[in-house]
C-alpha cells in the first residue's frame, strides 16, 4: 500500500462524498420533483461510484471485485428505480415548476394569456440552436398549427382517448354491447 495509491483513493473517495452531499442538498432545495430526481440520481451514480471506487484503492483484489459488483448493482438498480419513478410521476401528472412546454401536466392560466412557450414545427429549433440553448418565443395563436404539423407522426387525440380508456382503466364498466344482453344475470351474480 503505497502513499500514492492511498492519496488517489482518498481524493476519489472524498469526491464521491462531495457528490453525495451536493446531491443531498439539491434534494432539499430544488423546487420541484423532477429536479430532485436529478439530484438523487446524481448521488446514486456519481456519488456511489466515487465512494466505492475510492475504497477500491485500500483493498485486496477480492474486495475490489466485490466493490465493483456493488457499483454495478447500484448503477443498474438505483438508476433504473429513479427512471421508473419519474415515469410514474409523469403519468400521475406531477408538474414541473417552470414548464417551458405545454403538456398534459400544465394547466392554462385563468386569464387566458399564454404563460408557456409552445413551439411549432416550422420554428422548431435546429440542432445547433438546441446545442446552444437558444429558445424562441412563440405566441399562443400559432399553437393550433402543432396538430397539423404533427399529424403524420402522432396519434390523434380521439384515437388516443379511445386507446387509453379500455387499456388502462381497469375498473371501467364493460363495453355496452356485451352487457346489454346479459345485464340482469350480471346483477344477480355480482350481488
Amino acid at each position: 500500500m503505497t502513499l500514492a495509491l492511498a492519496i488517489v483513493g482518498t481524493v476519489i473517495l472524498l469526491g464521491g462524498v462531495f457528490f453525495c452531499v451536493v446531491g443531498g442538498i439539491g434534494l432539499i432545495r430544488l423546487p420541484d420533483f423532477y429536479s430532485r430526481c436529478h439530484a438523487a440520481g446524481m448521488t446514486d451514480s456519481a456519488g456511489a461510484a466515487g465512494v466505492l471506487v475510492g475504497l477500491c484503492f485500500f483493498a485486496e483484489p477480492l474486495v475490489i471485485a466485490k466493490l465493483l459488483t456493488v457499483v454495478a448493482f447500484i448503477w443498474l438498480s438505483s438508476v433504473v428505480s429513479t427512471h421508473a419513478l419519474v415515469k410514474a410521476a409523469y403519468a400521475r401528472g406531477i408538474r414541473l415548476e417552470n414548464p417551458r412546454v405545454r403538456d398534459w401536466t400544465t394547466r392554462p392560466s385563468k386569464s387566458g394569456e399564454a404563460e408557456v412557450v409552445v413551439p411549432t414545427a416550422a420554428e422548431a429549433p435546429s440542432l445547433d440552436e438546441l446545442a446552444l440553448g437558444v429558445e424562441r418565443e412563440v405566441d399562443a395563436a400559432e399553437a393550433p398549427d402543432l396538430a397539423a404539423e404533427h399529424e403524420l407522426t402522432a396519434v390523434t387525440e380521439q384515437e388516443e382517448r379511445e386507446a387509453a380508456i379500455p387499456e388502462l382503466d381497469l375498473s371501467a364498466q364493460p363495453e355496452p354491447e356485451p352487457v346489454a344482453e346479459t345485464d340482469d344475470d350480471d346483477e344477480e351474480v355480482r350481488s
Partner: protein, 363 residues
C-alpha cells in the same frame, strides 16, 4: 476512531423516523418510512458489528416486509382511522417507559467485557468454536450447532407462519379469472410498453440475485450469511420477477404446490438430520456423531444440511405469503382520487387533452 458518534447519529434518525411514522395518517407513506426505519436499524446493527443480524434485517425488513405491507394496504384502506387520544394510555405508557429507562442504568455499560452475556456459555462458544466445530463464523456455529435446537424451533415458527397465513388468508376466489395468463414477452399490451427499461434490467439482474442467494447460503460458514438470509434473498428474486411480470408468471415457474412441499421438506430435513444423528450414536442434532474420527467434518456436514433445510423452508414460506397476499381479490372500497385512479399514459407528440376545466381555454 470510534463509531459511537456514528451510532448516536443513527439513533437520532431512528427516533425521528419512529415519531414521524407514528404521526402519519397516510399509511402508504408510513409503509415507506418503515422501510427507512429498517435500513437504519440494519445500519446500526452493522456499526455494532452484528453483521448477520444486519443482513437478515435488511433483507426481511426493508425488502419483503415493505412488499407485504403494500400488499396488505391493497386489501385495506389507505388512511389510518382517527382515534381518540386517551390520556390514560399515554400516562401508562410514559410511566412504563420511564421505569424501563431507569432500569437500564443498572445494566452493564455497552460493550463492557464483564457483562453477564460474556460469561458461561458465551465464553465457551467463543473460545472453543474453532476446535469443536471448525468454522470461522462463530455466529453460524452457535446458530446451527451449539444452539441447533433453538434454530429448529425458529424454523418451525417460520413454517407455522406460512401455514397460518395460508389457512387464514388464502381465498378460493382468485383476483383474476381462471383464464388470466401473464402478458407474453412480445405482447404489445400497454403494460409491456410502459416499463421496457425496468423489464430489461430485471432480466439482467435476476440470475445474479439467485446466484447470490446460493452464494450467501454456502458462504454462511465463513462470513455473514446462512440459511435464513439466503432463503430471503432467493425469495426476493422471485418477488422481483413477480413485481415486473406478475404473480401469474411466478406461478408458472414456482407453482404453489411445489412451494407448499418445499415448506415442509426444509423443516423435515432439519428434523431428519437430528434423527440421523441419533441413529449414528450421538444425541439429537449432535453432528459429530456422523464422523466420530473427525468430529469437525461431521459438524460441517450437519451444518450444511441443516442450513439447506432452513434456506428451503424460508424461501418457500416467503413466496407462499407473497402469493397469498397478491391473489386475494381487491375489496370494493370507495375510490379516492390520488392513488387509486389510473392516469392515461400521455404522448408528447400530440396535443394532449387538458383536464376538463381547461378544455374551453384551448387556443
Amino acid at each position: 476512531m470510534s463509531e459511537v458518534p456514528l451510532e448516536a447519529v443513527l439513533f437520532v434518525f431512528l427516533l425521528i423516523v419512529g415519531i414521524v411514522v407514528g404521526r402519519l395518517r397516510n399509511l402508504f407513506s408510513a409503509a415507506m418510512l418503515t422501510g427507512i426505519f429498517s435500513f437504519l436499524s440494519a445500519g446500526l446493527f452493522t456499526l455494532m458489528t452484528a453483521v448477520d443480524v444486519a443482513f437478515t434485517e435488511a433483507a426481511v425488513g426493508a425488502g419483503i416486509s415493505t412488499v407485504l405491507f403494500l400488499a396488505t394496504l391493497a386489501l385495506t384502506d389507505d388512511t389510518e382511522r382517527e382515534s381518540d387520544r386517551s390520556w390514560l394510555a399515554i400516562g401508562v405508557v410514559s410511566l412504563t417507559g420511564l421505569a424501563l429507562f431507569f432500569g437500564t442504568f443498572d445494566m452493564p455499560a455497552y460493550g463492557s467485557p464483564d457483562a453477564p452475556i460474556h460469561e458461561g456459555v458465551g465464553r465457551h462458544y467463543l473460545m472453543h468454536s474453532w476446535d469443536e466445530i471448525g468454522l470461522p463464523n462463530v455466529v453460524t456455529s452457535v446458530l446451527a450447532s451449539y444452539r441447533g435446537f433453538d434454530t429448529f424451533g425458529e424454523l418451525a415458527v417460520v413454517f407455522t407462519a406460512g401455514i397460518g397465513v395460508t389457512l387464514l388468508l388464502r381465498s378460493k376466489k382468485a383476483v383474476m379469472g381462471p383464464g388470466a395468463k401473464p402478458i407474453p414477452q412480445r405482447s404489445r399490451a400497454p403494460y409491456v410498453r410502459e416499463m421496457p427499461v425496468v423489464r430489461a434490467v430485471g432480466k439482467v439482474m435476476l440470475p445474479f440475485i439467485l446466484l447470490f442467494a446460493l452464494y450467501v447460503q454456502a458462504h454462511g460458514d465463513f462470513g455473514p450469511g446462512g440459511g435464513f438470509q439466503a432463503g430471503v434473498v432467493f425469495a426476493a428474486g422471485f418477488v422481483l420477477y413477480g413485481l415486473i411480470w406478475g404473480p401469474r408468471a411466478v406461478q408458472q415457474i414456482a407453482p404453489e404446490r411445489l412451494l407448499e412441499a418445499g415448506m415442509s421438506i426444509g423443516l423435515l430435513l432439519y428434523g431428519c438430520v437430528g434423527v440421523a444423528a441419533l441413529f449414528a450414536g450421538g444425541t439429537y442434532l449432535d453432528y459429530s456423531a456422523f464422523t466420530p474420527e473427525h468430529p469437525t467434518h461431521g459438524q460441517h456436514w450437519g451444518i450444511f444440511l441443516v442450513e439447506l433445510g432452513v434456506g428451503i423452508t424460508v424461501s418457500a414460506v416467503m413466496l407462499v405469503i407473497y402469493f397469498v397476499f397478491t391473489a386475494r381479490p381487491r375489496p370494493r372500497l370507495p375510490k379516492k382520487t390520488p392513488e387509486q385512479s389510473v392516469a392515461p399514459a400521455p404522448r408528447l407528440t400530440a396535443i394532449p387533452e387538458l383536464p376538463t376545466e381547461g378544455a374551453e381555454e384551448r387556443p
